[in-house]
């Protein structure tokens, strides 16, 4: 990998569901250390993008390069390579305890001692989870489940964290806390993050760069702060008219 090539490079990505084209020649990249956001309305193809990068969805054409290498075809191997997805709707293993959920996050790791360190980082970020270690995942509140989903992904020690709508179904105050935690992950732990969101204003505020995805195509890209000022973005995604 050359010094300035991106950590994740998505080139002309085309994805279909049967005959339906969900992503049409998408280009985007994420550099090491960045938070990159993709904003878009319902059905724009945000989850499809995430699922394709996590290799649970196959693509028709184009390329996904991670660290300069083509993406592996198997989801579990992609995790081993360092890409971990926090899926839309959290998908906590409801019957398993919080601890078991976290252990599953560390499934690809065998470094016992370093796992303890990751756990400490998690408890510092989400003290709530430490108190609930032996509770079943399904009994957590929505906000706690989202924390657990992010914590579980942290347990794999990813080089690239994918977040699919971390704000989904959460109360505004919980969303703020969640986004603070995500920013901390980036600033303090140096984690590279690609996040997709419908909540455009929050996503644009927290990210370094962002893309606007509309029905499977990237319409705009730029710095988060620039897009926040953009007239079209304001009208379509921030609900500001004028």
């Amino acid at each position: 990998m050359s010094a300035n090539s991106p950590l994740l490079d998505v080139q002309n990505l085309v994805v279909h569901y049967g005959g339906i084209c969900a992503l049409n020649s998408v280009n985007l990249h994420v550099d090491s250390g960045e938070i990159v956001a993709v904003i878009g309305a319902n059905g724009a193809g945000k989850s499809t993008l995430m699922r394709t990068i996590a290799a649970v969805k196959t693509f028709t054409s184009g390329a996904v390069l991670f660290n300069g290498q083509p993406l592996k075809k198997d989801a579990s191997r992609v995790v081993r390579d360092g890409i971990t997805l926090v899926p839309e709707g959290r998908r906590i293993f409801a019957p398993l305890t919080v601890r078991e959920n976290l252990m599953l996050g560390a499934y690809t790791r065998s470094d016992r001692k370093e796992q303890e360190e990751t756990l400490e980082e998690i408890y510092a970020l989400f003290p709530r989870l430490k108190e609930r270690l032996h509770q079943r995942g399904g009994t957590l509140s929505g906000g706690e489940q989202q924390m657990l989903a992010v914590a579980r992904a942290m347990m794999s020690k990813p080089r690239l964290l994918l977040l699919d709508e971390p704000s989904l179904g959460l109360a505004p105050i919980v969303i703020d806390a969640m986004f603070d935690a995500i920013v901390k992950l980036n600033r303090e732990l140096g984690l590279t993050i690609l996040v997709v969101e419908q909540n455009a204003s929050l996503a644009l505020e927290m990210c370094h760069r962002a893309y606007v995805l509309e029905t499977g195509t990237i319409r705009m890209e730029g710095r988060g702060s620039d897009l926040l000022q953009d007239k079209r973005v304001m009208e379509s995604y921030l609900g500001i008219t004028g």
Binding site: V56, V79, T84, A94, P95, L96, M103, L104, Y107, T108
Partner: protein, 291 residues
């Protein structure tokens, strides 16, 4: 009273053998949501392999059992590769998996019939000499079958609840896609499940063959294990064990005190009655965790 105890022990022993098969059904069902009808054939195959290892190659019982286990694992894992995996990768409806399993079953059973012939064979081990606890006589093979079956179930429990790959299997039984996002390899899980269930059906086949006889259609008894796993709750492992033990004891008592002609009738009656009161089986949960 002695007779009653003898029958309870014998019932628990045959129940433990059923439970090996029932747990096999539950394991496959919990992850793949289909019933693997091919256990029928695996069981007969396992019994035949052990039978010929002893009668043709004069192997000791333990070696023969081990060979049978290994060969049945190969058959089970092989059938997954050939008959199920292509369907699974195409996300075929589970009905197709069942039909595929039935096809594999028919093929293997008929091959056994063709190659070895349909006659009934006595398993060449000395099972006759009983054991006495007070006045209660217990068949040595009953005791062995019960003890080994329970030991195997304990080992399986340890694997599922105390090891990392076991946790991966449990996670896959809840949500196979999210399990793969954790780095759990779906193909590895399939290998584990089919290897384990292959081994279980081989052991069940050997013990059942010892108790009754070895013949190509001996796997028909898997219907009992199926009943037991439905009674226990489809996909539930503890349910499969409990259902099997109840069924084994019930059957033996019916055969002993009423008539062995009515034994199977009672099994089905039992199923119907349980399902009337517990539509999801005794320990079945609707959805969620199944293991």
């Amino acid at each position: 009273m002695e007779l009653f105890f003898q029958q309870i022990v014998s019932g628990i022993s045959i129940g433990a053998v059923y439970s090996l098969l029932a747990v096999g059904y539950a394991l496959v069902y919990s992850v793949y949501n289909f019933t693997n009808w091919a256990f029928d054939a695996f069981m007969a195959f396992g019994a035949f392999m052990a039978f010929y290892a002893i009668s043709l190659f004069f192997m000791p019982f333990w070696a023969a059992a081990l060979i049978s286990i290994v060969l049945t694992i190969v058959l089970s894992v092989g059938s997954e590769r050939l008959a199920y995996r292509p369907l699974r990768l195409r996300k075929a409806p589970r009905l197709f998996m069942m039909i595929s399993a039935m096809g594999a079953n028919l093929m293997i059973v008929n091959l056994l019939n063709l190659i070895f012939g349909g006659s009934f064979r006595r398993f060449p081990v000395d099972a006759a000499k009983p054991f006495f606890i007070g006045n209660v006589s217990i068949g040595r093979m009953d005791l062995l079958a019960g003890a080994i079956s329970f030991a195997i179930l304990a080992l399986l429990w340890w694997f599922l609840y105390r090891t990392k790959p076991g946790l991966g299997v449990r996670a896959s039984s809840i949500d196979i896609m999210t399990a793969s996002l954790m780095g759990v390899n779906n193909d590895a899980v399939a290998f584990i499940i089919f290897a384990v269930t292959g081994a279980l059906s081989s052991v069940a086949g050997v013990f059942y063959g010892i108790k009754y006889a070895v013949f190509p259609y001996m796997g028909l008894v898997t219907i009992k294990a199926m009943i037991a796993s439905i009674v226990g709750g489809l996909g539930s492992l503890p349910g499969a064990v409990v259902g099997s033990l109840i069924l084994g004891v019930l059957e033996t008592l019916v055969a002993g005190y009423i008539s062995s002609t009515y034994r199977d009738l009672f099994s089905f009656l039992f199923l119907v009655i349980i399902l009337l009161f517990f539509p999801n089986g005794l320990m079945g949960k609707s959805g969620d965790e199944k293991l």
